[in-house]
Symmetry: C2
Subunit: 251 residues, 2 copies
């Protein structure tokens, strides 16, 4: 499906971002506009912002506000659906999943750190039957571009994904087993779908809260969301600037 | 998107079934054949069986075996994706999500019982921020056809969905809050996607194991899977026979 694997420069990227607050600074930065004729079916709240940035067709896909409740459509189901639909509609050479995450101070994470995820896995899909257990965890290595990592100042760590903002004791056990430094609500789902359709994904995650710290996650998350989103936006800009004009093998 | 809402008889149905063991008896019963030219994109393991049964175009969609691990692609992400892709490709008038479930004996469930779910919700998406909490739970009433319920002998109960086969204490608290009689790994996800695209869904779930009983779920599930699948197949057949020749308003 990708066209940039054979030495041609990357031409189309899709940036998947779960929250409006995370997406809008990047929409401004890349001077994107909202698609009036949606590439998505009637009824879905998914929003595509797009435009040319240097030589790249840049698409930011935000799953939009829940139609009944008006909050951002966070979590693995919406992330899976928009990843699938965006790949079908836009045939990107590369996906970037950008967003905020919780970090574990025991693994060196601090609020404001920006990570590139080397691995992803789920921590809330426990299926205690042989082989199904591995399917549930869904661990996979990500596309981790060596030159990009050399060039840009990003921390590298493993990402664990689940549909809860808090962390239950069972989640904690799984997150430890996943050896995760950061915890989000979308990454492993985006990885699963992109892997099905053979599109590489780079995961850029900025730490809004310390999971193994003193403060409740939801409070710390809301406090830091806007400030950390600025750091996230800067990191994603740098990654996009680095990508421009290169083929996948040069990243 | 549906055409059967305006008094025309239902012409196309999609039956979404997560496991091959659950799907194959119904494939035989309706004499369906596997689609050689998939309506789905290259790379995905999703399988469509289809054919005419009386006046109905019947499609059974099974998410297939995981490409890396060879086990059924169970859980909410695969269920969401195939629901979305099947609606896009086949424009069904009605979806049936059929499968096995855990049951709570405290709510009257026994192994082999077949339920029609009156309500669905998630029990493993905890987001303790106002309104986001409701989005996470994702509770919704289902399409519960009154005449079908009168005609067929099906128990009625609320369904709670999560991506784990076991039940953690946090899950249990949420399942109690959801007032659930049965627990599965797909239902609320199918409901979410079908609701986005305005297609009604009937949930038929057969109880393979008693969650609040003595035996570990995974053991009881595997022991009873084949026998309970026969009861499930019979119930789905009856539902499909009942649907034939009727419009949605007559169900």
């Amino acid at each position: 499906m990708t066209t940039a694997g054979d030495g041609k420069p990357i031409s189309t990227i899709v940036i998947i971002i779960a929250m409006q607050t995370e997406a809008l600074p990047l929409v401004d930065k890349f001077r994107l506009t909202e698609d009036p004729d949606s590439v998505f079916p009637n009824g879905v709240p998914w929003v595509r912002f797009h435009g040319m940035y240097k030589d790249l067709q840049v698409n930011i896909i935000w799953p939009g506000k829940d139609l009944h409740l008006g909050v951002d459509s966070v979590g693995t189901i919406s992330a899976s659906l928009v990843t699938y639909a965006a790949i079908q509609a836009l045939k990107p050479d590369l996906i970037i999943n950008a967003g905020t995450a919780g970090g574990f101070k025991a693994k060196g994470a601090r609020v404001g750190d920006v990570y590139l995820a080397s691995d992803v896995a789920f921590h809330d899909r426990r299926i205690p039957i042989p082989v199904f257990d591995q399917y549930g965890i869904g661990a996979r290595q990500t596309f981790s571009p060596p030159n990009l990592l050399k060039e840009l100042i990003l921390k590298v760590g493993k990402l664990s994904t689940g549909d809860s903002l808090d962390m239950s004791p069972h989640d904690e056990t799984s997150i430890l087993a996943n050896d995760a430094t950061i915890k989000d609500m979308e990454g492993a789902a985006v990885a699963y779908v992109a892997d099905l359709l053979s599109v590489p994904v780079i995961f850029i995650k900025a730490v809004t809260d310390i999971v193994d710290g003193e403060k409740p996650t939801s409070e710390e998350f809301l406090q830091n969301l806007v400030a950390v989103t600025a750091a996230l936006g800067q990191a994603v800009s740098q990654v996009v600037d680095f990508i421009t004009g290169k083929c996948l093998g040069q990243l």
